[in-house]
Amino acid sequence: MTVEKQFSPEALKELKALLGNPKQLLTQKEDLIPYSFDGTATLEKMPVAVAFPHSTEEVAALMKWAIEHKCPIVSRGSGTGLSGGSVPSDPSVVVCLTQLNRILEVDSKNLTLLAESGCITQSIFDAAAEVGLFYPPDPGSMKISTIGGNVAENSGGLRGLKYGVTRDYIMGLEVVMPDASVCWLGNKCVKDVAGYSLKDIFIGSEGTLGIITKVLIKLLPQPASRQTLLATYSKMEDAAATVSAIIEAKIIPCTLEFLDNITINCVEDFTHVGLPRDAAALLLMETDGHPQAVEDEIRAMASLAKIHNATTVQVAKNAEEAQALTTARRSAFSALARVSPTTILEDATVPRSELVKMIRFISEVGEKYSLRIGTFGHMGDGNLHPTFLTDETNHEEMERVEKAMVDIFDYAISLGGTITGEHGVGTAKKAFLPRSIGSIQMRLLRDIKKSLDPHNLLNPGKIFDA
């Protein structure tokens, strides 16, 4: 189908009338430019308008308008995504859900929380913590990312190793479908096998199948105790060997984060928490749970680190010190921007057992193409973040970055890994998806998309071309 390139002023007026307040629709150039990108480097496209719905009904009304005017809709939260998933399509209306942001219920009898999709992840964590409960997924941007965005991208975070990812905490969703109907998927039941598990199709769908408006979240009791440990290494391999040893010792810490030397220095420049600038690698480990178990585990991890040639092993003295270290780690990606004008972040992921090979390969690729690559990531779950430190205005170098990226993806796939562990495909990794999942899966994806969104109105051109 063809999409009308321009929308008449009448059509936009109609759109404005659907929302409670004229301030809920932006159409001026200066208002639109700030919505022409997300957290991904080098991608931008202007939307036709940005709408801020305040209710599910308003979202449904917007969807109806979109069907009538054949206008693509790109839904987004705070726009911190790292694969270009919420960069506007051309043309499109952006539906920004950040003002749909109420926490509707905390149910401590069923250990659930119901929130509108524009709620900030941190506020969900805080609301749960207030009643002694725990929402584990903690993507790096959790202070500003929205829960709806987390669901749409199936975000991970630092605690993935022990607690899993966003998907593992979603019990239900309210979704505005591409035909403007409003659909509830899931419930508060721990067990439910009535029909296909449809909510799971929407988790990680990157806004291509529906617009998520409410999220029913599963919570856990708060761990009684938590301890953090920092180990530094003069050889990257020793850090990797420590991780393998910990997993082999049947310990599942909640966090096993890895930073290489470039990343250590950038993070230290920003945070001044006292990271050792000369270390080749660093492991940030955290364990939580029953105080006695935590005590045992942290001691075991410390001694395993020492056995594997850690140059220093240091347990955080108190909660503040531990917090400072994790906060420092969260800033890693953005801090790397200190080194170069453009930072291109990847999240190739491999089975844990293949990590050492992958890390070695990344540094070889850097040498082969004469590129600077800062690597950090979630060592415990095999999710790495090699980050190219480059300059988008240097076209020759950008070509080398492209080549290096292809090599890294191909190698990750050959090790039984994936091209993206937690950032999504969006447009940034679209070209690599077929080789990662194969033609049959590609066909299944297209079939699902076609059956739910036959007119290709929701986030067209993302993940794959319909």
Binding site: L26, Q28, K29, E30, D31, I33, P34, Y35, S36, F37, D38, G39, A41, F52, S78, G79, T80, T98, Q99, N101, I120, Q122, S141, K143, I144, V267, D269, F270, S331, A332, F333, S334, A335, A337, R338, P341, T342, T343
Partner: protein
């Protein structure tokens, strides 16, 4: 100062739009609109410097809406130099004459180029205002304005002005004050607003410095630092003032530190080096100057804060509760957060209680309460609410702008009046005087 279009593109490019600034931006938290956020503003600057967007009214309005609190800069992992972007934008906007109208031009000229260029003129104006305030004419003006008999902007200007002190700095302390045994020699900057409205803070600063074995030189004729100018797009006026301040002393040799006790001034005073980098005559002296400028808390902390002994006459009644408001240009622009708290703890007189959102801008931001009264008022209410919830009776604040804004009375908020706002140094000096009185 360079224009936005001439600015080194790498400063704009440094922003990788990750969005981690958003939760720290007071205006974004107010509206949840990206345009009102640091990365949104930078995206506009980027399009302007690329030639895809013209320098227009909408951009000018947006830059006026920005508080310049630089909380974003302090919280930016990528190290974006937002201060330069902000100042360059505002200056480019003024040069392009986007908001030009005769009344605004006259007012700006009067304040930036005449009154705040010469402290004698400011003091003259202050004396007039003092008379006004003592006769309660400022309130009368507000009434007249309510009956539409007086222009709102002028009535606001007069009614929102801080109380003028009976004595200015040079009437409260000598140009040269010496301890019995001097270990350091410092130059004390008395400021402009500080000089007329909080001159006692300058007196207190001197006393605390002397108690810390510092010889204190406070020239009677001083000048505004120029931060007001540079934040409002008058780079030229600011440059003139920077030179005047550098001329104040023939030589800075033998001076261990140049002390500022106003957060807003300190952050700008420390930047004279980059500000006058292209000025052949002044660049070298500006570098020495910037190197020596220290915020009072920073300086005391570095030479070792002297703990005050508890008064032997203290009764057992519970200590008064005290909280500390982190002024933006102290905590975000200068990174000074722990030092004032260390000073407050050293007195042993109060119970220091935590303040929620202590480092969120109170809405004062220079002349923001005049240019953006609505947002300034919202942020003030938010701050006062947090103070109220902290349970503190006394609020320590180390910037005259915040002090005046938070304590000014408005019909819609009476809570500000019942709270006691004090400079940390004044609290320390107060206890110092009390102890010495008891000792005698």
């Amino acid at each position: 100062m360079k224009k936005l279009s001439e600015l080194d593109f790498s400063i704009v490019q440094q922003c990788m739009h990750c969005g981690l600034c958003l939760p720290h931006c007071p205006t974004y938290l107010e509206t949840l609109n990206e345009k009102n956020s640091p990365r949104g503003r930078i995206s506009l600057m980027r399009q302007i410097s690329l030639g895809n967007l013209e320098l227009n009214k909408n951009f000018a309005d947006e830059m006026s809406y920005c508080l310049g609190c630089v909380s974003c800069q302090a919280n930016c992992p990528a190290g974006v130099d937002y201060t330069t972007l902000f100042e360059t934008s505002r200056s480019s906007i003024e040069e392009a004459g986007i908001n030009k109208n005769p009344f605004r031009k006259a007012i700006r000229h009067l304040f930036f180029r005449i009154i705040f260029q010469d402290l004698r003129k400011l003091r003259f104006l202050a004396r007039t205002l003092r008379l006004f305030q003592s006769l309660k004419l400022d309130r009368a003006l507000l009434k007249l304005q309510q009956w539409h008999l007086f222009p709102k902007s002028l009535a606001n200007l007069v009614s929102k002005a801080p109380r003028i002190q009976n004595h200015f700095t040079h009437e409260l302390l000598r140009e040269h004050e010496k301890p019995t045994q001097a270990r350091h020699k410092v130059l004390l900057l008395s400021g402009c607003v500080q000089d007329i409205s909080y001159s006692h803070v300058n007196r207190d600063t001197m006393e605390v410095l002397v108690h810390h074995d510092c010889e204190v030189i406070t020239p009677a004729q001083q000048h505004c630092c120029g931060s007001l100018h540079v934040h409002n797009g008058d780079a030229k006026g600011a440059e003139q003032l920077a030179r005047k301040n550098l001329d104040m002393m023939d030589s800075l040799e033998g001076i261990d530190a140049i002390i500022s006790n106003a957060g807003g001034c300190g952050s700008h005073l420390k930047h004279y080096d980059s500000f006058l980098a292209d000025d052949q005559e002044y660049a070298a002296k500006a570098r020495v100057w910037s190197h020596k400028v220290k915020d009072i808390h920073e300086w005391l902390f570095s030479i070792g804060i002297k703990n005050l002994e508890a008064s032997p006459f203290t009764n057992d009644s519970p200590k008064e509760k005290l909280c500390y408001h982190q002024a933006c240009h102290l905590c975000h622009a200068q990174g000074i957060k722990q030092e004032p708290i260390a000073l407050l703890k050293s007195m042993g007189t109060h119970e220091l209680v935590p303040l929620k959102e202590a480092d969120l801008c109170c809405g004062s931001a220079g002349i923001y309460s005049l240019t953006q009264p609505e947002t300034a008022q919202n942020l003030k209410q938010r701050k006062l609410e947090n103070i109220k919830n902290s349970g503190a009776q006394v609020v320590a604040v180390a910037n005259p702008g915040c002090h005046a804004h938070l304590s000014s009375s408005q019909s819609s908020d009476s809570q500000g009046e019942s709270m006691k706002f004090v400079h940390p140094v004044s609290l320390y000096a107060e206890q110092l005087r009390k102890l010495s009185k008891e000792a005698n």
